[in-house]
């Protein structure tokens, strides 16, 4: 067992004994067999000396127990690393940022405290997964939808404080933005409620976000200033209908005006669902359809001429490739636009969307891909991308099987996910910059051309899965290359939105305006709020004074 830095065996054992008195013997884990369950299943450093590993884990069942555990951690200066359900895979999983930390496993705190159907909100504890909340809604016939990532196994609260995203309306699929009110155990063990929850007997904790005065909720996301033990969420009323329309354009130059149209449709709330960008000609399916493509029915099967043209294209373009697309009716670009609401409303929105897109791309073509009256039979959800219908799924793991679209399944992945502007020009520029860098670094990130994801309003995520292999040397090379890509992104004004512990220092170094003023502010807060530095030391490169600068 690797002890936390600067903690003696005697103190560590005394702390564990105290933890046992708080939560019971059976909820403190110290055997290698148990502790290894908290390793990052996708760690690129697996089985290497520098793999981030916990020393132990403790699983409280209530806020009061969390407070007591935190007080003991303070007494003995034990670093504790809170996790919810620990499913943050691709971004670090449940492994701590500092080896030797004790994982504070909150999955026993899995109570759905309140769901208010009329006002469309929920209040949950950290151990509530998207599946749990979905099951609760179904069992109680509550006509609200969850918005979940894909896969939907994670914690509603945990994904929100990691600033994850989903697939329905923008105000719900930005999971942190969808929250309303937190309860937080501070490093001192003191209990804090944010927003209206700061009023004893508050009547609107989950209905008005900011309360009065400074709104502090943001400092508890991607951070280490406290342990969030309750969180409210605004939820989406079950819509009456769903329409997905596809816009096709056949010219490379159509990309920029298509994105302009997309932005207008979303910013003006004409399109209300998840937008997706695809390219049948370049072999790039919409994100929300990857499983469907992968499962074979729509897998891309290119002929030799097509493959040759793709190989000869520059930044996804050549006149011959464009001509091939026209000849074979393969669109260069597709926008997949989704709409939620009464069918008469979504039909009208789709008509308006076509008119607006045509004003920018006069040759655009249109088709309706899906038009559903909701709710559908749950058994039919499998025919669609379930998360876009408010249904959690594990189907993404069927992608592991080899297929034409996924010929070399990996042992895991690290998400490279810089935020870039929402323009066609930025997409091409990101392909140019990262494509050249990845080639030089021999990183297997790119095919012919990469299209970004539209999880957030106003900006794209240029998201790429860097494979984790079974070869430690290859993994180390990929980690170094990944860090270099982060730096290159920073040089172009792009930064990651979220990252795994192994990359957090490199990422936060990019956020360096005015001699790292933001990072210094984070540390000022850390010193004031958590003087002993016990909560998740090093998370997003926020280190307590005693461990700063290699201390």
């Amino acid at each position: 067992m690797k002890l936390p830095p600067g903690v003696s065996s005697a103190d560590f054992n005394a702390a564990l004994a105290a933890f046992r008195r708080i939560v019971g013997d059976e909820w403190v884990f110290t055997s290698e067999e148990d502790v290894m369950l908290y390793r990052d299943a996708y760690s690129p450093m697996k089985f290497q000396e520098d793999e981030l590993l916990a020393s132990a884990a403790v699983a409280p069942s209530s806020t009061e127990e969390v407070q007591a555990v935190v007080r003991i951690a303070n007494q003995y200066k034990i670093p504790i690393y809170p996790i919810s359900t620990g499913k943050n895979l691709g971004y670090g999983g449940s492994a701590p940022t500092l080896s030797g930390s004790v994982v504070l496993d909150l999955k026993r705190m899995n109570r759905i405290i309140e769901v208010d159907e009329k006002n469309a909100f929920a209040l949950v504890e950290p151990g509530v997964s998207y599946f749990d909340l979905y099951r609760y809604l179904k069992d109680n016939k509550i006509k609200l939808w969850i918005d979940c990532p894909d896969p939907g196994w994670g914690s509603v609260l945990g994904n929100a404080i990691d600033r994850g995203g989903g697939y329905t309306m923008p105000q719900y699929r930005n999971h942190f933005d969808a929250h309303c009110g937190m309860e937080v155990v501070l490093p001192s063990g003191e209990l804090l409620r944010t927003g209206m929850g700061a009023i004893p007997g508050a009547k609107t904790w989950q209905q008005y976000k900011t309360g009065c005065g400074p709104w502090v909720d943001g400092i508890f996301s991607q951070a280490n200033y406290g342990v969030v033990t309750k969180m409210g969420f605004w939820m989406m009323p079950e819509p009456e209908g769903y329409l997905r329309g596809v816009v096709s354009a056949h010219r490379y130059e159509d990309l920029a005006p298509l994105i302009e149209a997309l932005n207008y449709l979303e910013n003006a709330c004409i399109m209300t669902g998840f937008p997706d960008i695809a390219s049948p000609l370049l072999g790039y399916p919409p994100i929300g359809q990857v499983q469907l493509f992968n499962e074979g029915a729509k897998a891309f099967a290119f002929d030799d001429e097509h493959k040759g043209l793709l190989a000869g294209a520059t930044l996804g373009y050549s006149p011959a490739l464009e001509a091939y697309g026209r000849k074979n009716n393969l669109a260069y670009w597709e926008l997949w636009l989704t709409f939620y609401g009464p069918l008469e409303v979504v039909d009208a929105q789709w008509r308006a969307a076509q008119r607006i897109v045509s004003s920018k791309v006069d040759s655009a073509r249109y088709r309706v891909h899906e038009r559903l009256s909701l709710p559908i039979d749950p058994a039919r959800a499998h025919e669609y991308h379930e998360p876009e219908l408010g249904v959690p799924s594990l189907r993404v793991f069927s992608i592991g099987a080899r297929s034409p679209f996924n010929p070399t399944p990996s042992a895991g992945h690290m998400w490279f996910s810089p935020i870039i502007p929402r323009t066609g020009e930025a997409i091409i520029e990101a392909n140019r910059v990262f494509g050249a860098a990845a080639k030089e670094l021999d990183m297997p990130l790119f095919r012919t051309f990469t299209l970004p994801a539209c999880f957030w309003e106003r900006a794209f995520i240029f998201i790429l899965a860097t494979p984790v292999t079974d070869d430690p040397d290859v993994n180390r090379r990929y980690v170094d290359g990944f860090k270099k890509l982060i730096e290159i992104g920073g040089e172009h004004g792009w930064g990651e939105y979220r990252t795994a512990p192994v990359f957090q220092k490199t990422v936060m170094d990019v956020y360096s305006f005015n001699d790292h003023a933001l990072g210094r502010f984070h540390e000022t807060l850390k010193d004031a709020i958590d003087p002993n530095g016990i909560i998740a030391p090093g998370r997003y490169d926020i280190w307590p004074k005693r461990l700063r600068n290699g201390g």
Partner: protein, 139 residues
């Protein structure tokens, strides 16, 4: 069930290399100290998985890669209701990974796993059961 020569050889090789058939078919307590296998999960896309499943006495659960319905409709309830409910299977590594992650939330873990060569993917045969003590067990 008829299998082609290649798959038959694969099956025989696998059976020789590991207690695969025992895991699939046995209704006796296993060597790892866990009770008999209650359910057997197999990926119907692979002939070798179908063949082994046909030899199992346990309740059969066919999948095609996706384990969502299996877990949501069946295993979630069985694992909550019966601490002795043991699941074995032969699936791709990603299907196993998804089930393993869900099992951890319900106080189970993978107690054995071994690779089996198959085409086009390597398959894994595995067993998920409650151990003496589980990190992260649900209340």
């Amino acid at each position: 069930m008829t299998v082609d020569g290649l798959e038959r050889r694969t099956l025989l090789k696998a059976a020789a290399a590991a207690p695969l058939l025992a895991i699939a078919a046995s209704t006796q307590p296993s060597a790892d100290g866990n009770p008999e296998t209650s359910a057997f999960v197999f990926d119907t896309r692979f002939p070798v998985a179908r063949e082994i499943a046909s030899m199992s006495d346990a309740e059969l659960h066919p999948i095609e890669g996706d384990v969502t319905a299996l877990w949501y409709d069946c295993l979630f309830h069985r694992w909550n209701a019966d601490s002795a409910y043991v699941v074995a299977g032969i699936t791709t590594v990603t299907s196993l990974f998804a089930l393993e992650q869900m099992a951890l939330l319900q106080g189970r873990r993978v107690v054995s796993r071994a690779a089996v060569k198959a085409s086009p993917d390597t398959l894994f045969h595995w067993r998920i059961a409650r151990s003496t003590k589980f990190a992260g067990a649900a209340p």
